[in-house]
């Protein structure tokens, strides 16, 4: 009986666990609840993913009300992949959070952290499962609001301004999305995404629909930090607590990319989005700018978290580039990169959290010589860094390979060369950190730093192993991505 309700369970479990954390204020109890909730969520996602791969799209009516009046939860290969990513990262970050918070947050209020964390998880999962447009907005805002809270928990006072800036920009983005949904409702009379997709061609692509499209793309671009609407991201990820940076970097922007994919391909349809409207051109141009400019800025930053934050903006560029190709290979590449980037950035930020735990700073000069005293930690950084650059045998290589293939398929040689060139820039900013950690002398007061505790190392290493594993045994993510791409393109 429970199996029928799996789609809604993924949301309900964290949703109910969140206030439970507030009720049970003890530090260990709240932690235990959070752990169970995230792991339970992940288990549900895994079962759902298996089901979807076996039998196709899952559909669930909330409360038994049939769509299009009722809210429908609709899960296909793309949703399943996003669910896996979000809950997977969540379950790795939750055990990590316990010790990492010690330094970065007031211990006796940790239950509040777990509550916000679970709400964020719930919101992100909700976005991934829902088949109703307005419901998507609601869950998006749930996750956004809780992420504003999570970011503001950083001990550096700039976390507050970063969170405020994110709040302003994020709310504008969400409001744009709401305007878009309203205009779509006006045009079609329904809020169910599949239904809108059916009714739009009948209604015709008039100014209302074009306006809806425009508002949506801009709103989502704000949420996913597509260059040049990325201003909030570097500060938000740098000053937030490391656990939060790791979780958000690996999930929040991915979910926004999912929203873009869902609306562009399923709701508006490929024909309207790319044939009638020349969307591919500005997307591709912005993606290429995103691949280069933030990467170059990253080469000059001294705070390693900022370097990784700018790197994230660049990686979003890769995903959007994949989307801009509008081919099977291109979409597969973009979706694969969603998955791989979550692994990479999650691992890197978790490592930085461990570094911060021991030396209280993520400044590149303070990290000098760290490889000697914290070898396992820095080795994990190297592993994640190699994946970021795109060395063969890591996950990052697979998605880059597909991207280049897609570019060659379309005959866009210059784009293939640009992709390779931007990887070179990634080499520079990763190398700076490695050079500092491995080839310099540690500062005097940090000569006797101990290795990071296991509770922080193990989650980081799990993600690093994931990078390597999915770089060699690529069948799972590739097959899901291909299935997702096929259903997105074939929706028309």
């Amino acid at each position: 009986m429970l199996r029928e309700h799996l789609p809604v369970l993924v949301i309900i479990i964290p949703l109910i666990a969140a206030p439970l954390c507030i009720l049970f204020r003890g530090r260990d109890q709240a932690f235990g609840i959070a752990l169970l909730a995230t792991w339970g969520s992940f288990a549900c996602s895994a079962v759902i993913a298996a089901k979807v791969m076996a039998s196709g799209t899952l559909s669930y009516e909330l409360g038994g009300w049939p769509p299009p009046i009722g809210i429908e939860l609709r899960i296909d290969a793309l949703n399943a992949l996003i669910l896996l990513i979000v809950s997977g990262i969540g379950s790795v970050v939750a055990p990590y959070a316990r010790n990492s918070l010690l330094l970065e947050y007031v211990e006796d209020r940790s239950y509040m952290f777990y509550c916000a964390f679970l709400l964020c998880l719930c919101g992100l999962m909700g976005v991934a499962v829902t088949g109703d447009a307005f419901n998507l907005f609601v869950f998006l805002e749930i996750s956004s609001l809780s992420s504003y809270v999570l970011i503001a928990l950083g001990f550096d006072r700039r976390a507050l301004t970063a969170s405020y800036q994110y709040l302003i920009m994020g709310t504008i983005g969400a409001t744009f999305i709401v305007i878009s949904i309203g205009l779509l409702y006006q045009a079609t009379g329904t809020l169910n995404m599949a239904d809108i997709a059916q009714r739009l061609p009948e209604h015709g692509y008039d100014r209302t629909v074009i306006a809806a499209f425009a508002f949506l793309v801009i709103g989502v671009a704000l949420k996913m930090a597509l260059f040049p609407l990325h201003q909030w991201l570097p500060n938000a990820y740098s000053y937030a607590p490391s656990t939060v940076s790791a979780f958000l970097a690996a999930t929040a922007t991915k979910v926004s990319v999912y929203i873009l994919l869902r609306f562009l391909f399923t709701v508006f349809g490929v024909q309207f989005s790319f044939d009638i409207l020349p969307t591919a051109v500005p997307l591709t141009i912005l993606a290429i700018l995103a691949m280069f400019i933030p990467s170059i800025v990253a080469c000059f930053e001294h705070n390693v978290k900022k370097v990784l934050a700018y790197s994230s903006v660049a990686q979003i560029g890769y995903m959007v580039l994949g989307i801009g190709f509008v081919t099977m290979t291109g979409l597969t590449a973009g979706i694969l990169h969603l998955f791989n980037h979550a692994l990479m950035k999650g691992a890197l930020f978790l490592v930085l959290g461990a570094v911060f735990y021991r030396i209280g700073s993520c400044n590149i000069d303070r990290m000098a010589g760290l490889a000697r005293t914290m070898p396992w930690t820095m080795a994990a950084f190297v592993g994640g860094g190699l994946s970021l650059i795109g060395i063969p045998m890591t996950a990052g290589f697979i998605s880059k390979w597909y991207l280049i293939q897609a570019a060659i398929e379309k005959g866009w040689w210059h784009i293939a060369v640009l992709i390779v060139a931007s990887s070179l820039i990634a080499v520079i900013y990763i190398w700076r950190v490695i050079e500092s950690a491995y080839f310099r002398e540690p500062p005097e007061d940090l000569q006797n730093v101990k290795e990071a505790p296991l509770s922080l190392l193990i989650p980081a290493w799990i993600l690093v192993f994931g990078n390597v594993y999915f770089g060699i045994e690529t069948s799972l993510p590739v097959s899901m991505a291909e299935l997702a791409a096929r259903s997105l393109l074939g929706a028309n």
Partner: protein
């Protein structure tokens, strides 16, 4: 098949050795034993594959398939066999030399040194045995990364700067040019497997072949074609054992080996000659040969001179590849072996001179030959091999390359070869000659003041002993009579290896027809 195991073993053994070296880090004697045993075992594994290759088979090993069509696989063919034999054999010799050198100099971070050495050899073997361009590329990158700590070993500012040049040039050429070329090849041919006759025939427009060749040749930065050769002289800042093995044998040889493999098995020699796509390469390589030799003439630092000599010699092999005739290709492959033994002898001598007398500039080396006769004699042998005179091996490889130039109707390059031999004489023989001319007494007096005790090991037992004894004996046996002593021959652990390699040059001359026979299948 039974022999597959040896392919995997040969690559894995050095990696296992790395772990064991790491674990023996605090016990130097145990660590050196591990290095020596690992190198010996690796060579034995490589040897096991030799009979198969000589019989005409090509043992294969498939590891895994990353993506459809992109797999990690190994296949042993004569060219790869040759490179693997050289790399693994010379690893043994260099291990002994390195033990003597590192201990004599009291170098820090020796564990890291031996570990990175082992990883570098493992990746060199992986390059030698690679069955497709993808596997080769991965191993190529691992080689660059594992030799970086070796280049920056001394961690001075100069070393770090050199390391930056090294890594900068090699990584940017490999990712920016080579990878693009590999992707293009994949897109055009649908496969990256090394196939006799090449995989590009008919798959690519004639005009574009030149561009693709350009991407490969300049993407393979380790072959040090001008103007991307800068990393090679920069890397001379490394300790001599590193320079010797890696830059006279493994790293640069990996580069030219890759060049030959690409020309023979990706492009196909006939395809290249038909389209005439390699003519520009002949001229670039020829120019490199001459220019590098000219620069070598101006260098006073012995290692710098040898570095530019290497650039020039590597260009021989690239030229041989560009000529793409049967004789030149086999000659180029033979030159890999000849130059390896010749150059490593020269570098070992340079290191021995450094250890014994602390001299690095050729102008300071007057009269040194009388003090270090064995070293200088070996230097002469190595020099003659590089110059290409009988009875040393280098003469055969040059002969075949010249023959290949004649076959290709590119007679100008025969002239290039002859001029460069003259230039080689001009920059190598004076080093030897200077050692035996010039006032010895004056030098003696100068040296007496700055001499440290290194020179009284001429009568220790052979290098089969564990290396531990020599080291402590060095400084403890420093009595008053040594203070004003003359410079004497370098330590046994340094002299014996360089004589082995010098004799190797002679042996290669004698057995060169056997070598030719082994290599001729690559052009069938």
């Amino acid at each position: 098949m039974h022999h597959q195991i040896y392919i995997g073993l040969a690559i894995i053994l050095p990696l296992l050795g790395t772990v064991m070296i790491w674990m023996s880090g605090s016990r130097p004697n145990q660590r050196e034993v591990v290095t020596v045993i690992t190198s010996g075992l690796t060579f034995l594994c490589v040897l096991q594959l030799l009979p198969e290759v000589l019989a005409g088979h090509q043992p294969e090993l498939h590891v895994t398939e990353l993506l459809p069509g992109l797999e990690i696989s190994f296949k042993v063919e004569p060219l790869g066999m040759l490179f693997a034999l050289i790399a693994s054999f010379l690893w043994i010799i260099t291990s002994f030399y390195a033990i003597g050198y590192m201990r004599g100099h009291h170098e820090p971070n020796q564990t890291r040194f031996y570990m990175c050495f082992a990883i570098a050899i493992s990746s060199a073997l992986a390059i030698a045995f690679s069955g497709n361009m993808f596997t080769l590329f991965i191993a190529y990158e691992v080689l660059t990364l594992s030799t970086y700590p070796l280049v920056t070993h001394s961690q001075t500012d100069e070393a770090r700067r050199a390391g930056r040049v090294y890594l900068g040039i090699l990584m940017s050429t490999s990712i920016g040019l080579l990878m693009v070329g590999i992707i293009w090849t994949w897109a055009a041919a649908g496969t990256l497997d090394f196939t006799p006759g090449g995989i590009l025939k008919g798959k690519i427009d004639d005009g574009l072949v030149i561009v693709l060749l350009f991407l490969y040749m300049y993407g393979i930065g380790k072959a040090a074609l001008m103007p991307i050769h800068r990393w090679l002289p920069a890397a001379m800042v490394a300790p001599t054992p590193v320079s010797a093995l890696l830059h006279a044998v493994a790293v640069v040889k990996a580069g030219v080996f890759t060049v030959l493999k690409v020309i023979i098995y990706i492009f196909g020699a006939d395809f290249l000659t038909e389209t005439g796509a390699s003519i520009w390469l002949m001229y670039v390589a020829g120019a490199t040969v001459l220019l590098a030799s000219l620069v070598a003439l101006t260098k006073d630092n012995l290692k710098a001179r040898l570095a530019y000599s290497t650039v020039s010699q590597l260009a021989y092999i690239v030229l041989a590849g560009a000529l793409a005739t049967s004789h030149s290709l086999v000659g180029g492959a033979m030159h890999i072996a000849m130059h390896a033994f010749g150059k490593i002898t020269l570098f070992f001598c340079a290191g021995a001179i450094m250890v014994a007398s602390h001299k690095t500039e050729i102008s300071q080396m007057r009269g040194l030959g009388w003090r270090m006769p064995f070293t200088f004699a070996a230097f002469l042998i190595g020099a003659l091999s590089v110059i290409g005179l009988p009875p040393l091996g280098g003469s055969w490889s040059k002969w075949y390359i010249a023959l290949g130039a004649a076959d290709a109707d590119q007679l100008v390059f025969i002239a290039v070869l002859m001029i460069s031999s003259l230039l080689n004489i001009a920059y190598l023989i004076p080093v030897f000659a200077r050692g035996f001319f010039g006032p010895r007494e004056e030098e003696e007096a100068q040296m007496a003041g700055s001499h440290e005790d290194h020179g009284d090991h001429g009568d220790h037992g052979d290098h089969g002993d564990h290396a531990g004894d020599h080291d402590t004996a060095t400084h403890d046996a420093h009595d008053a009579s040594d203070a004003g002593k003359r410079i004497a021959e370098a330590p046994m652990l340094c002299v014996v290896p360089l004589w082995i390699t010098a004799l190797g040059c002679v042996a290669l001359f004698v057995y060169s027809d056997w070598l030719y026979a082994m290599l001729s299948p690559i052009v069938k």
